[in-house]
Symmetry: C2
Subunit: 612 residues, 2 copies
């Protein structure tokens, strides 16, 4: 089975171009950090964080059979701690790659280098990408407060960081199940998810061709790839949890480590003693990994082998620089089960496991819930920060009610935005199909865009420097009826334009000073412009200056943060009193017969008369 490039969505988003920030390090390594530039109608550009890889770059030829560019190959070649390794399972497909592993006795993790005070190319890449100081990135990784998931065998990766002092990230789950989907679908889902903004993807395939599907995804994937290795281990024992063994699991870890998986979800915190506390829950155990391990433990009446073999697992993770995503196998699957004994018991163990992993220099994040009512969300964050020593938190939603299957991207976006604000570093998306079926492409898009909203709302609420620039630029475009700029600055330009054009199609509508929501006479923003004009008759130069300040802020440069906002707080305190101007000019204006309004309206109607 092979994926063909024809099925892949290529090309930039509307109005966008791929651009790069370049820097040459003192060690000669060249960094080339991708950005998406939105070209505005006034000729300026607005830069956006971009995780879509070469698929949105028309300058780059894509051949899925070759895989995408190995951006990290020079970083890895120079790393003395690595040595070549042959795979235990031959790579499927035509991919030519050098496989690597840490030399015996050596460490190769980003945490290891950070703790030594070494700024890796990955750290510097991340620093450029997020407009941060490389030392700061290094310190956060050393402290365990941020991770850079970057398996030494995922050379195609564009490095990124997950941590609460970075932009909030989102993950999109893809992967086939026994019932549906194919390799082609999954590769395209990965491309599609990153196009809309997925910062990492998890391949949760459980069906046939699990190894091959993963290979195709990783070789073409510019973002970190996570997996839940127990799924594949279970396939190897024909779906019988009680037949799982440490050896089978261990080999699965190595097989996937050699492929280049960047982080593993491992449910080592599901301990035997917690299982009875789930018996009276409304929804028992809803994590697949958690339920598999619970069944294994009950069948053998032994402690979770992922827990008892933790040190050996850490050694494997360290050898490839795979990050832990310590699973929350006992997360609540319903509002009734939120924040219960089983859930918090496991979270405490996640903290213990985190500290033990850090002893091996292994990077760690912790998975979190689940279904949690709003009033119980903050407790989750607070306890995680305390019990897990500020390791990044990575939550699934949480869903704030159980009653809306078909809309769980929304029930969960509410919780995700809130917990992101409180300090969660990465939000695992939920699609409209959650609880109902496997998401298709449109579901993936809905899920990703919805989670970009949650993540960005969290960045705004946290006061992340620069986050508001995009809101300001888009709102300014909206206020000035620059429809195209409004679309192109939005999270989903195609949808914004499509919705607008449903009721007011045609090129003329793109410059109209109203939309079909209110029609020409009732457009508050158009009336405000008229008010401002009336105002400027009196206030004169003051208003014009304000206009210039705004125009400047439009380039989105982070070096000139938010001139708009500081302007708006000035308000009536400004030296020229606009009220005075109004007093003088209001009568003049009336004598003009409200002509500004009438003529505006007429011209607006003219420009769209073919559509009324």
């Amino acid at each position: 089975m092979q994926a063909t490039t024809e099925q892949i969505t290529l090309g930039p988003l509307p109005g966008s171009e791929k651009n790069f920030l370049r820097r040459t390090r003192s060690d000669g390594i060249e960094l080339r950090v991708p950005f998406r530039q939105v070209r505005l109608t006034d000729g300026t550009c607005f830069p956006l964080y971009d995780c879509s890889g070469p698929f949105t770059d028309p300058q780059t030829a894509i051949d899925l059979h070759e895989g995408i560019q190995q951006l990290r190959e020079p970083f890895l070649q120079s790393r003395k701690e690595l040595q070549p390794e042959s795979r235990i399972i031959q790579a499927p497909g035509s991919f030519e790659r050098t496989n690597r592993v840490a030399r015996p006795g050596s460490r190769c993790t980003q945490m290891h280098y950070a703790r030594k005070g070494e700024i890796t190319p990955e750290m510097e890449f991340v620093a450029l990408r997020e407009n941060l100081n490389p030392e700061f990135v290094m310190d956060e990784v050393a402290r365990g407060r941020a991770i850079i998931p970057a398996n030494v065998n995922h050379s195609e990766l564009e490095p990124m960081a997950i941590g609460r002092n970075f932009l909030v990230k989102i993950n999109a789950n893809i992967g086939n199940s026994a019932v549906k989907s194919s390799i082609e679908d999954e590769v395209e889902k990965m491309v599609w998810a990153t196009r809309w903004g997925a910062d990492t993807i998890m391949d949760l395939s459980t069906g046939a061709a699990i190894h091959e599907t993963r290979e195709w995804i990783i070789r073409n994937c510019p973002v970190p790839v996570g997996t839940v290795p127990i799924y594949q281990a279970l396939e190897k024992v024909n779906g019988k949890p009680e037949e799982l063994t440490w050896e089978i699991f261990r080999n699965t870890l190595i097989e996937q480590a050699q492929q280049g998986v960047d982080y593993f979800t491992i449910h080592a915190g599901v301990l035997l003693r917690f299982v009875p506390s789930t018996a009276n829950r409304v929804t028992g155990i809803v994590s697949r990994g958690g339920s598999i391990m619970a069944r294994w433990m009950l069948a053998h009446h032994q402690e979770n082998f992922l827990y008892t073999h933790w040190d050996e697992i850490c050694e494997i993770m360290a050898a490839y620089d795979i990050s832990f995503s310590i699973g929350d196998g006992l997360r609540p699957g319903s509002i009734a089960d939120a924040n219960d004994e089983a859930q918090f018991g496991e979270l405490k163990v996640q903290g213990d496991l985190t500290r033990r992993a850090w002893e091996f220099d292994v990077q760690v994040m912790n998975e979190g819930p689940g279904h949690v009512p709003m009033n119980k969300i903050k407790e989750n964050m607070d306890r995680q920060l305390e019990w897990c020593d500020e390791a990044p938190f990575y939550t699934l939603g949480p869903l704030t009610t159980d009653i809306a299957p078909g809309y769980d991207h929304i029930t969960s976006a509410i919780g995700a935005a809130m917990i992101g604000w409180f300090g969660t570093s990465m939000l695992c998306y939920v699609t409209p199909k959650e609880h109902l079926g496997l998401p298709d492409k449109e579901d993936v898009r809905q899920g990703v865009v919805t989670y970009k909203i949650a993540a960005h709302a969290a960045d705004l609420a946290k006061g992340h420097p620069g986050a508001q620039l995009r809101d300001d630029a888009l709102s300014k475009a909206r206020f000035e009826f620059r429809w195209k700029d409004q679309y192109n600055l939005s999270l989903d330009p195609d949808r914004a334009k499509g919705f607008h054009d449903e009721t007011l199609p045609g090129e003329g509508a793109d410059v109209a000073h109203f939309c079909s929501m209110c029609g020409p006479k009732f457009c508050s923003m158009e009336i405000t412009h008229q008010i401002r004009k009336m105002n400027s008759h009196g206030a004169g130069k003051q208003s014009e200056d304000t206009g210039q300040t705004r125009a400047k802020s439009n380039n989105g440069s982070q070096a000139a943060p938010d001139a708009v906002h500081s302007g708006s707080t000035a308000g009536t305190d400004s030296s020229t009193d606009p009220i005075q101007g109004m007093e003088q000019k209001s009568r003049e204006f009336l004598e003009m017969g409200g002509e500004i309004y009438v003529s505006k309206q007429a011209s607006s109607q003219d420009s769209t008369s073919d559509r009324d």
Copy 2:
């Protein structure tokens, strides 16, 4: 122009029946409070609050030309404070109604009666509807902390309450603009919006046939109808704000009062002194009513005539028992403008206006923002509670970011859920078309369901008694693979079933113990059932008892709240230790060869083999 019944969506939601709670008052008036009953597959029923009126009741014939049943007519006939009145504009269509107004010197508002200690039929209706004490409802209305919007000329209304000690309510805006829509569309939108759960609707029509459209809507509308009278007043002066006069506005109020509008949005807090503080905003004035009044004030250089004529407006409101929805004309239209001087200046004036209206026994709620980042939402609620003496708050979202046109139902649901939790009484929905165009039916459905999610999430977070019963019932159905019950208990049964059937169609899939998301082998809930069975081998009777407790809780009766949840907190403290049972039985189970799992899996696959 007439609306025809053929275009109207009729009939119950899947699995639901209309039912009524009946009570005869001591004054002989009979109350008949509608409920939606969901019939579950185990034969029990789950009652749901229902605002869809007779349109979902197959027992009731619908003829839009007659209007729906005048449920309140007996209430109003018995009210001595009312006298007949002829309309200043003849009612269009064939509707036969008695028009009423308060006798000179008399008061007829719910607040008036409440302050006198009189429990009106409307209050008792609300009490039955929300399972509350009628005295409590009366006290809340007397205190101004809740309103029952109920114009004496809206006899078709099924009374409901808006207040923060009641269920959080949602409003859906409908109405045509100059560019699009018709009477038929708008009546169907009203029926459609209440079908999905809109507690009130606002008719924001601005185009032609504004009076006639409104008449058709009100005569057929079981929920309160709100309007923004300045829109129609502006039509009367051909869209020129500066030609508006108090007299034109006053006549518009009376015209609409006589039609039966239940609440009026009036932008009386937009004072002349606030306008200059909007000049430096990123998005100026974004409320249509606010911008109209700002323009009027600038043109005349006079104070807002809605403010200077407040007492006269209160007299009109009192004469028909119309509630105020005091507009927030200066609400922020972008993240940059949130919580600024203009916005909070107006909010303080809203508080003054509230107290003045209460002197006339007029019921009041206050409108709120808008665009507000999450970290600034609570301040809005806190100030409103303080400055407006706990009058109900009624917010538009707020939208927590500006960057997602096309998805603003979601950006705003995040803020709406939060501010609902903090104490907002009603949430004005936002559809996916916000900022882009006039919503169509599918947008209305998306907007309403999304806001039901926000309102319900808020009820849960507030710990509203009974709110969680629905979550528990649905989650229990989900856990027990009762797919039909899961759909029918959800906010949108059609969508839930539709999404599920996309990947696993057919009747068999409705009983399958998995869905296409995970497939049969990886269904955590199915595995949990197996674990419980293993558990019960050892724990014996204890587990079975738990099962019975659950079955009991399934009737959703509010008298037996949440047996499920109290069960789950018991956990390991129960007298029989399930761990012990596991110890004894784990080997036995293994000897059975994991047959429970295998046979289960096989049978699941059999039942769906036609779909693999």
